[in-house]
Subunit: 330 residues, 2 copies
């Protein structure tokens, strides 16, 4: 069975919080990213190529807090984190706190493929990106009016804000033109601040698994804060013997819980099925301590699960077994 | 039982590779750091305070690749990583790629105690450090002649070098004065390049565990490379229910293996004793893929283990059960 599952962030998404146009925009973006990944798998691509392409599509879409749609830091800029992992040999690459990189997930892939390292950060990672001809863009590419308003509001209130936190007012219409290659969803159609980290997992026809995750982090984050997204074992994990996992939520709790690897350990060491391992981690471990979030995961047979302990999670999935869907609310 | 165990790096340390003066200097530094930690535990301090103080002592000693003795990056500077974790509530703090910070482990403690975050990196982490009055020092504090020669050699050869890699020639005598508060070991007494990441684990009289790790990374590292040291679950872990672990070795392999947390999982999910969990991870998992290194660990009862799959590891330990030692070779 070939399978793909992806998320665009989990959080407080009350039912009917999106209007019909907003919901349609999200659903279309999730379905498009899913179909890119599934199409690749169906044509024989590896799981790793499929999750990278899926996450790139989500990074290119201003609706999600990754790549183009990344939230603003305290300094009014964008610092991006991403990682990906190949289940066959547990090779992994990650970047943290990079600026101006159009597709951080593909930079993570370059780290995996073309360095002896796993995790590169900051200006050093950007130097590596330039050496390997990764695409860069100026601030105008990343400037999304809604994100800017979230940042002004969060900065004024002196707080750090999760990307999926409480609603803002309807954003003002704006005439910022969509970047070349970006979806044509107009920014005045953006919903009210509930977006998130993106990620994908896949199983290919060769039985290999892969996972990838990308984020802009928390609105108004400062001090070079890094969440779980670029940390193998925390936000991303893939091992052909057990599962591939991509997480979204309150990163600090996901780091302390080593969430993605914990799911793999529960499967390997306790022989639990994927869904039960995910339930234990999200509901028995994270929920009692306030660790809000969700994840997408696939097991060695290609079964996908998309659980979350928050009100909602932007998500989509498709398998050659006939399962297919797009969903937002709980 | 109160217990402390610490390491000063693992790697290629052939027997008799140190002369008598060098070996005595290492043994004295290891014993001194151990006695600081054990003394605190004996006087009622928490495990967290004990591991922080022990690692600070190792950071202040130019013999080890952390704090003052940190290796040079490709750019000829020092970028420091550290983390620590408290087993009682699995609170954790970490910093990556910070410059000029005298005691990165104490900055990690500040992150844990005074922020909502777990991991801060680079210039942002330094800003946080200044806000909390952490001690900074100029390049002259970190300039250790041996490290500088290692860097020149590695840079000339175009390679990245593990801190415990193959011997260099005996370093030239130097007159660089010891920094205020630094040990009075003269730099011409330094051995030939085999030093490492430092770390400590402890159990206190309250039954709580803690772990801390600090490093300067790899000689001639570039691109903002981050190893396992500042990643909770990879280089450092503490949970009162299972164990506290601090790792040293080839960081990329320790990240991919989520080594510290994997040991805790083998104990929790498979009910293995600490020593057996460590053996599986270091010898069955890491060794076959070339993941050289070691670790120190303590279980909930205070039993300490100090295993390594390399030729040697600088290490020391002491428990109220009467165990005590300092060792270097295998």
């Amino acid at each position: 069975m070939i399978s793909i599952a992806l998320h665009g962030g989990a959080g407080t998404i009350p039912r009917h919080s999106l209007d019909a146009v907003q919901e349609a925009a999200y659903r279309a973006a999730l379905a498009e990213a899913r179909d890119i990944g599934f199409g690749l798998l169906a044509s024989g691509a590896t799981a790793l190529d499929a999750v990278e392409a899926t996450v790139r599509a989500l990074e290119d879409c201003p609706l999600f807090n990754a790549g183009r749609g990344a939230v603003f830091t305290h300094e009014g800029i964008h610092e991006l984190d991403a990682s990906l992992m190949r289940g066959q040999d547990r090779a992994t690459g990650a970047v943290a706190g990079v600026r101006g990189v159009v597709n951080p997930v593909s930079l993570a892939r370059l780290v995996m493929d073309h360095s002896e390292h796993v995790l590169l950060m900051g200006a050093g990672a950007e130097e590596f990106a330039r050496l390997h001809n990764a695409a860069f863009a100026g601030p105008e590419y990343f400037f999304v009016e809604l994100r800017h308003r979230q940042w002004i509001e969060a900065r004024t209130a002196g707080r750090v804000q999760l990307d999926h936190s409480a609603p803002l007012d309807e954003p003002e219409p704006t005439d910022v033109p969509p970047a070349v290659g970006a979806p044509t969803i107009r920014l005045n159609e953006l919903p009210n601040g509930k977006m998130g980290t993106v990620g994908a997992v896949a199983r290919d026809q060769f039985g290999h698994l892969a996972a990838a995750t990308s984020t802009g982090g928390m609105t108004n984050k400062r001090w070079g804060r890094v969440g779980d997204t670029p940390l193998p074992g925390a936000g991303t994990w893939a091992d052909d013997r057990t599962c591939a996992v991509s997480c979204t939520g309150h990163g600090e709790f996901f780091i302390r819980g080593v969430v993605a690897y914990d799911i793999a350990c529960l499967m390997e060491y306790r022989n639990l099925p994927l869904a039960e391992a995910c339930r234990i981690v999200l509901f028995d471990k994270l929920l009692p301590v306030g660790g809000e979030g969700g994840l997408v995961a696939v097991d060695a047979a290609g079964n996908v699960v998309l659980p979350f302990n928050s009100e909602g999670m932007y998500r989509a999935w498709k398998t050659s077994g006939g399962e297919e869907g797009v969903a937002i609310y709980g």
